[in-house]
Symmetry: C2
Subunit: 471 residues, 2 copies
Amino acid sequence: MSIDSVLERVDRETGASLEQLKEYLRIPSVSTDPAYAGEIRRCAGFVRERLETAGLEAEIIETAGHPLVYGEWLGAPGRPTVLFYGHYDVQPVDPLDEWRNDPFEPTIETGERGDQIVARGATDDKGQSFTHIKAVEALMAETGSLPVNVKFLVEGEEECGGEAIEAYVRSPAAERLACDLALVSDTSMYGPGQPSVLYGLKGLLYTEVRVRGAARDLHSGTFGGAVANPLNALGTMLAALRDPEDGRILIPGFYDDVQPLGVGERAAFAALPFDETKYGDEIGATALWGEAGYTTLERVWARPTCDVNGMWGGYQGPGAKTVIANHAGAKVSMRLVPDQEPERLFRAFAEYMRSMAPPGIDVEVENLNGAPPVLVDLQGPLVDAALEGIREAWGREPVRVREGGSIPIVSTLSEVLGAPVLLVGFGLSDDRLHAPNEKMDLANFYQGIRTVVRVLDRLGGCAVDGFSPGA
Amino acid sequence: MSIDSVLERVDRETGASLEQLKEYLRIPSVSTDPAYAGEIRRCAGFVRERLETAGLEAEIIETAGHPLVYGEWLGAPGRPTVLFYGHYDVQPVDPLDEWRNDPFEPTIETGERGDQIVARGATDDKGQSFTHIKAVEALMAETGSLPVNVKFLVEGEEECGGEAIEAYVRSPAAERLACDLALVSDTSMYGPGQPSVLYGLKGLLYTEVRVRGAARDLHSGTFGGAVANPLNALGTMLAALRDPEDGRILIPGFYDDVQPLGVGERAAFAALPFDETKYGDEIGATALWGEAGYTTLERVWARPTCDVNGMWGGYQGPGAKTVIANHAGAKVSMRLVPDQEPERLFRAFAEYMRSMAPPGIDVEVENLNGAPPVLVDLQGPLVDAALEGIREAWGREPVRVREGGSIPIVSTLSEVLGAPVLLVGFGLSDDRLHAPNEKMDLANFYQGIRTVVRVLDRLGGCAVDGFSPGA
């Protein structure tokens, strides 16, 4: 096999790859909102078709939630087996009026580094994970086979808890997922042109707090002063999450299981180029702020955080309505670091919130989803081979980084497969993921395909000690 | 003139009066939302027509905001002149899904005290102020004239600040409003069957607080910990409004100008029948709560309060969205007592809110509307005559009460007219004003008409010292 001819094919076919990505992005596969269930299913079908076109055997796996898509090609006995993970679901699009175009009608715009594709899911994760399929397709089309065995597992619930894949990976049926190495592209590079391998992801605890007062809304003149107001009470509860001075999280016991940052790791973080002013400018923040005693990189990568993601209650329209609403609510999430446990922290959080309920106010706290934090062990000949492929693709040494985001399935895969999970992202920090006008640089989309081609090529040169689990 | 024949006519014509009230309630005259401007105008036209049908000269007065409706009949020279005030606008209807029926399709239901009419504006203030028009109409139809001169001023901005009427009453054109006594029905009775005259209304300061962070929404994983979150910041600000333990308002200087409650007034409040359990049950509150050191009546009638009337920010849909929204907001209102000044308190409030902005967060505070508190002086022969009419109508001594609500125009009328403003309400505390399923007991609607007939009859027996301003 000639790697050059495969890469030439990738370059020759960028136009078709882009059109296929657009088609993928046009499907509004919002997983968190039941109204989109039909689109989720249509999207799973699209992924299955693309896998089949690439030359794999593919199928839809039904679950209690949104379907999984599985694909495999096992024609390289004695060679390693690589499992690709991705997700075909996307975040909701609100606030819709802040999008320049329809979020599900991909638009090519010219950004500061060239063309970019703007749509919900452009980078998270359709654009990124589609590079896996396109790389395999190019290898297969050019050479008639693949240098390694490959498996794909693409889920539809990454943005809403990932319960279906979690259950599947822990079920007996998941024996078929056995592999020597897993590859995930759902993260950002450390900077433009800087290939990056991620070894730490935060965990997540995402909750909803609901506060109820009287049986009905009350006139704030007639009844003001007589009863506790659910909105005031919710304000008190949200204020009690973090110390407004030093940014510390005030949930009792929250820091008990936090692994302190080691001196070596702090030094490694500090050695990375990081421009606070540029970072702030990129997101339009006039100042950065966070937990006292830590740098911005430390706060984002390695210290737990707590954010209010949504809040609501009472009158939100124009003008004045003098009402004491009888209910209010908020979404509150925490990002966790080793060795914090989502379940244990949920109990502490719920108890803390309930302890603040004033007389006459009922507080309910729901655990919407959670994921444990992950630290990946980047060791062994297969990891080295993959890193070499990345180095070749970008002409530059990949940096080892951590991330503030969570990919719930990564820790499960890592635990169940007993194989290293390589997190190689092709996104950038200005991709506006989860926000209006989400985008992916087209150069990164194409370079992502090339990177996966080179990684598979390098892995194909590895001997598998004894039995390869996939072959 | 025979008062009995007029009252018989009122009783004979309750069916027609009810149909006309329904027609009035069907007009969705929501003043705070610009989308209803056309309905507001239609509603003003309805009031004008009803005044003309009653036998008055009536007209629409254009303003910078919603129109005023003015009507007069000045055929009783040497007799007193009575000014009726009311408002034809209503509160918004959300949450719409908590209404049993369309809020603008009045429905007759059977309540615990008999039939009630359920619709937005049933009691606040269409139902109550329509009693004025129907009383005048009955007197005119039965006797061909009125015992006193009457003027009507009905506004369309009571629920959204009342700027138009405020400007009008303070303009030279308002000379025509000169009167010996003003009558307002926009309040609640102390209890069913207990006629009540209100001598104290709270003032109002209604604000909107808007908090802004980064230029765009951010992924709460990728950026969590790096920047202050506008929603967390708003929580901190809302929590700082009141002490969660003793309920005191923490805005600096808030209590500086508060007139302490006198021993005599506290004793008078304590002498009124008041059942805390029943009060709580009526609104479905499992506990009452408020400023330490005061009874519920004192808190509601005579102590200033501060309530969050609305709050919003970030993701409010089902499931989880891991976002740091770039803006959030809240409606915050304060009810004021003598001698608190809305303008002065607004400045203190805005400064207090801004002082809590963390780095990178911009805070804007807007004064949506305000009204000074009022204490009415219930003195003089005309007041005595009116009270006698009320006593006759209900067969019971009216009690003198205060209220937690605000009627912005009352203090202005009181100041500009130099005449006593009599606040005689026909509502009840369970009327759900400003809330879903607002209602008015039909018995109170009809009894209100009878009360106004008797009050006008009694006032007609008064000599006006020297020149009556209206004649």
